[in-house]
């Protein structure tokens, strides 16, 4: 028991640094995923066959490729090809673009979940198409999108661990656990605290999402 506490307190700086790196990776990658995902979702619902195909191809490609393969391509692959890519850029871009495919699907199904009658009613009331989307469709779609986007953030927290142990070697939470465990042969203790770190992050995300879902739920 004393060991368990000392593994945390003796290396507190490293643990906090690792936690912070994981948090930053998730935050920046999620921002990228939201921007790219919105663009791809817009392509998929655009009134043009070619654009729809393009968005569909993006989703099918990035959803079916392992994240580790993306990391290899964006880091080792581009470096060998002569592009100077740093581990941070490669890791965040891979995680962001990978999750963007899922974000696009979530947003698209959110928009489609609003019934057609809603937009027709808004148009017949004299709203312009843009106004109808902004005032009627998006606020309703936003509600249905909260929980899938929340699941995606939780998935990102988990997937961010892949970046640290792959060839990119960013010092995130899992990497920190690995370093500390190999230093003192305290595998169980080090991995216990990493588990606590990850469960704290995913737990916080879960609680926040539940709160938001309640806040924006429709009371009938």
């Amino acid at each position: 028991m004393g060991d368990l506490i000392s593994v945390l307190t003796d290396n507190l700086d490293e643990w906090l640094a690792g936690f912070w790196v994981t948090l930053r990776i998730v935050a920046i990658a999620f921002a990228i995923a939201m921007v790219v995902g919105t663009l791809v979702a817009a392509l998929r619902i655009a009134p043009n066959k070619v654009l729809q195909r393009l968005g569909g191809a993006y989703v099918e490609t990035f959803r079916n490729v392992p994240l580790l393969v993306l990391l290899f391509i964006s880091f080792a692959g581009l470096r060998r090809a002569g592009f100077e890519v740093g581990p941070w850029e490669a890791g965040i871009a891979s995680l962001g673009l990978y999750t963007a495919a899922y974000v696009a699907e979530a947003l698209r199904s959110g928009v489609f979940s609003v019934s057609k009658g809603q937009i027709e009613a808004a148009l017949s009331l004299g709203y312009t198409y843009r106004h109808a989307l902004r005032r009627v469709v998006f606020p309703q779609a936003f509600r249905t999108v909260i929980s899938p986007l929340g699941s995606l953030i939780i998935a990102m927290i988990k997937n961010s661990a892949i970046i640290g142990v792959s060839l990119l070697a960013l010092d995130d939470l899992l990497k920190t656990a690995r370093v500390i465990s190999s230093r003192g042969f305290q595998t169980d203790e080090a991995f216990f605290w990493a588990a606590v770190g990850y469960l704290t992050l995913t737990g916080l995300a879960t609680v926040t999402i539940r709160f938001l879902e309640k806040r924006y739920a429709i009371h009938r």
């Binding site: 079916n64 580790l68 699941s151 939780i154 998935a155 737990g203």
Partner: protein
């Protein structure tokens, strides 16, 4: 762009045994995926039923188990198991494995990989299955009980067939994710497609041509896209076939579960 499509950079595809070597690695991934899929589905169903059990200690224990393993990164579980499994287990595994099993699965390291994949995926699948069962109208199980069926009978004959059919799409997305996640076992030193890919890109492998990293892993990515698209196509075919066979019309899907599988 010119670098990507430059024929010189694709020459490795036709020289030596490069492609065969990568495909051999990919086969190991698929073998691990199939074993992990079967075990995860079985364990996942057991966990889901445990969580729905009316005996509180069991449902609380199953719920806590599912919530912990669902929320930990898979790579974390794989690394921890690889570092901390008692040395006797892999030896026992190597003794127990029948010799007709594929060569890639004979090494004791595979044990940690399969264990990690099953721990994580059974927890996620349990949650999907639980949602599928809960989405069913209560009247179904009540009617079954009213007809004199026991709890076990009503589950087996009425609730599970309908509930599980609803979560086929969500389950298939999770199985696709599992298939992708088999690349992570390369980190616990199993010789699969990622490792083989790296070997091919190191200097002077077969044929004396050094394969460029970018192209090799684009190729590996394409392999995964093909297999995963086939998997989702197959599930859609299955769904349509089921609909025709059971003539119940469109099966209602459980919404909001596909996002679990990332």
């Amino acid at each position: 762009m010119t670098y990507v499509f430059d024929p010189d950079n694709w020459e490795w595809l036709v020289t030596g045994n490069n492609v065969r070597f990568i495909l051999e690695g990919f086969a190991v991934n698929l073998e691990i995926a199939v074993i992990a899929m079967v075990l995860s589905l079985i364990c996942g169903l057991a966990l889901a039923l445990g969580r729905l059990s009316r005996w509180t200690p069991l449902s609380v224990a199953a719920g806590a188990w599912v919530d912990v393993f669902r929320n930990l990164p898979l790579i974390f579980l794989l690394l921890y198991l690889a570092l901390s499994i008692p040395g006797a287990w892999p030896d026992a595994y190597e003794d127990a494995i029948p010799s007709w099993f594929p060569e890639g699965l004979q090494s004791g390291r595979v044990l940690a990989a399969i264990l990690g994949l099953v721990l994580y995926n059974s927890a996620v699948l349990a949650e999907i299955m639980r949602a599928g069962i809960l989405s069913l109208d209560r009247g179904q199980s009540e009617a079954a009980r009213a007809l004199g069926m026991s709890y076990a009978q009503s589950m087996r004959l009425v609730v599970l067939p309908q509930g599980l059919r609803r979560m086929v799409p969500a389950t298939v997305s999770q199985l696709i994710t599992l298939n992708k996640d088999t690349t992570l076992v390369s980190i616990v030193a199993i010789q699969e497609v990622m490792r083989h890919g790296r070997i091919v890109t190191s200097a002077n492998f077969f044929g004396g041509v050094q394969a460029p990293v970018l192209q090799v892993f684009l190729f590996v990515g394409a392999l995964f896209i093909i297999v995963n698209l086939l998997l989702s196509r197959l599930s859609r075919r299955l769904e349509i076939h089921e609909q025709r066979r059971t003539a119940v019309g469109r099966v209602q899907r459980v919404r909001g579960l596909e996002e679990q599988a990332v």
